[in-house]
C-alpha cells in the first residue's frame, strides 16, 4: 500500500468521521439556511474589506488549529504509535506526506478561500488576495514542521495529576452527565457550533415576534428549527453509548430508569436553549406557552435519539428522516396544532421505543 493511502486512512478519513456532526451542521447552515445569492454577497463583502478578510482568516484559523490538535492527539494515541516509524524516512518525504495530508484536512477551508479569492481578483483587491493566498499556502506548509517535531519527541506521561485525583475522590460523576463531560472534553467544537446555530435561530425567531403581528407559531418555528441542531448531538450521544460503553447493553435497567437517565441527559443538553428562550421570550405570550415550548424542544431532541435506537443509520440518512420530520412538524405548527398534542404524540413514540429497547438491541 502506498504511504499516501496510509495517511489518508490513518488521519484524513478518521478526522472527517470524527467531525461528521460539525460538517453536518456546516452543510445545514451553508446549503440549507443560506442561498447562493447570499453566499456571493458575503464573499463580495469579505473580498472588498481587509478587516472582514482578516476576520474570515481568523475563523478559518480556528478550524486549522483544531485539525492540528486532532493530528497531535492522534499521533500520541497508542493505536497510532506505528506512525513513529515515519521519522526513519528522509525529512523531505515526511514533509511531502504531511503536507498532502494537511491539504486534505484543510479542503473545506481551502475551497471557500478560493471562492472568495476569485472575488478579490475580479474586484482588484490584491492586498486581500495576497492575504488569502498566503493563508492558504501557509496553512498547508507550516503544520508539517510541527508534526515532524512531534515524531522526534518522547510521548508524554499519562499519569494522573494530583488535582484531578483530588476532584475524582471528592465527586462521583452520575451517568446522565457522562456524555456532556465527554462532549466538553473531546468535542468542544461540535458543542460550540451546534449550540451557536441553535441559539441564534431561537433568539432570531423570538426577536422577530415583536416586529410584526406574529403569534406563538413564529416562536414554535424557532424552537423547532433551533432544537433541530441537537439532532447531531443525539447522534453523537448514541455513538458514545454504543462504542464507548458497550457494557451498558448488559445492564438491567427498568423502563423508568432508562427514561429518567435519558430525560436528564436531554435536559442538560437543552440548558443553553432554555436560557435564550427565557431571555427573549415575549411578555405578550403566556408563561404556559413558554413552558410548552421548552418541553416541546426537549422532547423533539429526545425523539431524535429514539429514531437512532429504532435502527442504526449513518448521519446522512438520519438527516433525511429528520428533514421530513421537521417538515411535518412545521406544517403542524403552521396549522395551529396545539403544542401539547405534538408533545404527547412524540412522548408516546419515545415511550414505545423505550418499552421495546432491549428487543430492539437483541433482535
Amino acid at each position: 500500500m502506498k504511504i499516501t493511502g496510509l495517511f489518508f486512512r490513518s488521519y484524513t478519513k478518521p478526522f472527517y468521521q470524527a467531525h461528521a456532526g460539525f460538517f453536518f451542521i456546516l452543510l445545514y447552515v451553508a446549503a440549507g439556511l443560506l442561498r447562493g445569492t447570499e453566499h456571493i454577497f458575503i464573499a463580495k463583502y469579505t473580498a472588498k474589506d481587509t478587516f472582514l478578510t482578516l476576520i474570515a482568516i481568523s475563523i478559518w484559523s480556528v478550524y486549522i488549529l483544531n485539525s492540528i490538535l486532532y493530528i497531535r492527539n492522534t499521533l500520541t494515541q497508542k493505536a497510532y504509535w506505528y506512525m513513529r516509524q515515519l521519522s526513519l524516512y528522509p525529512a523531505s518525504k515526511q514533509f511531502y506526506w504531511f503536507s498532502l495530508m494537511q491539504l486534505t484536512l484543510n479542503l473545506p477551508v481551502t475551497i471557500y478561500t478560493l471562492f472568495i479569492l476569485t472575488f478579490t481578483i475580479t474586484l482588484n483587491q490584491y492586498v486581500n488576495a495576497g492575504l488569502l493566498a498566503g493563508f492558504t499556502v501557509l496553512s498547508v506548509l507550516t503544520p508539517p514542521f510541527y508534526y515532524m517535531a512531534l515524531l522526534k519527541k518522547t510521548y508524554p506521561d499519562e499519569g494522573a495529576s494530583r488535582m484531578s485525583q483530588f476532584i475524582n475522590k471528592k465527586f462521583t460523576r452520575p451517568y446522565p452527565v457522562w456524555y456532556f463531560s465527554f462532549l466538553l472534553g473531546k468535542k468542544p467544537l461540535l458543542l460550540l457550533l451546534s449550540k451557536a446555530v441553535s441559539l441564534a435561530i431561537i433568539a432570531a425567531s423570538f426577536l422577530l415576534y415583536g416586529t410584526d403581528d406574529y403569534d406563538w407559531r413564529i416562536l414554535g418555528l424557532g424552537v423547532l428549527l433551533g432544537f433541530n441542531g441537537n439532532m447531531v448531538l443525539m447522534f453523537d450521544y448514541f455513538q458514545f453509548e454504543r462504542k464507548q460503553l458497550p457494557v451498558f447493553r448488559n445492564l438491567p435497567f427498568t423502563f423508568f430508569k432508562r427514561i429518567s437517565y435519558q430525560a436528564i441527559a436531554v435536559l442538560i443538553i437543552s440548558i443553553p436553549e432554555y436560557f435564550v428562550m427565557l431571555k427573549y421570550f415575549p411578555h405578550e405570550e403566556s408563561v404556559l406557552t413558554l413552558i410548552y415550548l421548552m418541553i416541546y424542544g426537549s422532547v423533539l431532541t429526545w425523539m431524535f435519539l429514539q429514531i437512532m435506537m429504532l435502527r442504526e443509520m449513518p448521519l446522512d440518512k438520519i438527516g433525511k428522516i429528520g428533514f421530513y420530520l421537521i417538515l411535518i412538524q412545521l406544517l403542524l405548527i403552521l396549522a395551529n396544532t396545539p403544542l401539547l398534542i405534538m408533545i404527547l404524540i412524540m412522548g408516546i413514540f419515545i415511550g414505545w421505543v423505550q418499552l421495546r429497547y432491549y428487543r430492539l438491541i437483541s433482535n
Binding site: 499519562e158 475524582n168 458497550p246 457494557v247 447493553r249 448488559n250 438491567p252 437483541s362
Partner: protein, 208 residues
C-alpha cells in the same frame, strides 16, 4: 440451567455461529476455538449486547422476553474492554454496581481483591491493559449473577491476578452455584480450574 435454542448469528449473510440446541447445567465451561471462530460473538449475543436469531434462557428467563430480569442474572467481561477514558473506576463501579444491585461492601471487596483500590480515583484512560482487564473483571463479579461469561479473562493479567481470578471463580462456583462460560487460549495458566466440560467452536458449530 442455560438453554440456547435455534441460535444463529450472521454478518453480511455469512453465518458465524449456529446452535440448534444446547443445554448446560451448573458448571464451569470452557469454550475453545481459533481466532475469529465466533467465541466473542456468541458471548456478546448471549449477554444481550448484539442481536441474534433464536433465544437464550437462564433458569427459564429469556434474553428476549424478560430482558431486564435476564441481565440481572448474567454478567459479562469483554476480551478487550472499552470504557470512556475520562471516567474513574469509582464512577463505573457505583453505576454498574447500582444496576446489578451489588452491595457497597461487595463493590469494595472486589476493588480491593483485584488490587485496584489505589487507582480507584484515577481516570481509566491512564490505565494499563492489565488494569483495564481487572476493571472489567470487577464489573463481571458485581451483584448476584447465576451466570458469568468471561471472554479471554486471563489475557494481559499477571501471574498473581490469574491466581486471584481462578480462586474467585472456584469459590463462587462452589458457594453460589454460579455457572461460568470461559474462553481462553492460555492452557497452562488456567489449568488449575477444573472445567465441567470443554467445547470447541469450529466451522460455526459447537461440539463437546
Amino acid at each position: 440451567m442455560i438453554v440456547i435454542k435455534d441460535f444463529s448469528k450472521t454478518y453480511n449473510g455469512k453465518t458465524i455461529v449456529a446452535i440448534k440446541l444446547l443445554e448446560l447445567s451448573t458448571g464451569i465451561y470452557r469454550i475453545e476455538g481459533k481466532n475469529g471462530s465466533g467465541k466473542s460473538t456468541l458471548f456478546k449475543a448471549m449477554s444481550g449486547i448484539i442481536p441474534f436469531e433464536g433465544d437464550c434462557l437462564i433458569q427459564h428467563i429469556s434474553v428476549k422476553k424478560q430482558p431486564v430480569a435476564y441481565r440481572k442474572i448474567l454478567n459479562y467481561c469483554d476480551a478487550e474492554p472499552i470504557f470512556p477514558g475520562f471516567l474513574t473506576l469509582k464512577d463505573l463501579v457505583i453505576f454498574i454496581g447500582g444496576a446489578k444491585n451489588a452491595p457497597i461492601n461487595q463493590q469494595q471487596y472486589l476493588v480491593d481483591h483485584f488490587g485496584m483500590a489505589p487507582f480507584i480515583n484515577q481516570a481509566i484512560g491512564t490505565y494499563s491493559t492489565g488494569m483495564l482487564k481487572k476493571t472489567a473483571l470487577i464489573f463481571a463479579f458485581l451483584g448476584n449473577p447465576n451466570v458469568i461469561i468471561l471472554d479471554e479473562p486471563f489475557a494481559a493479567l499477571d501471574h498473581d491476578t490469574i491466581h486471584i481470578l481462578t480462586e474467585l471463580i472456584q469459590k463462587l462456583h462452589h458457594s453460589k452455584d454460579t455457572t461460568f462460560l470461559i474462553s481462553s487460549h492460555i492452557k497452562d495458566t488456567d489449568s488449575r480450574l477444573s472445567y465441567t466440560k470443554t467445547f470447541l467452536l469450529h466451522d460455526t458449530h459447537l461440539s463437546g
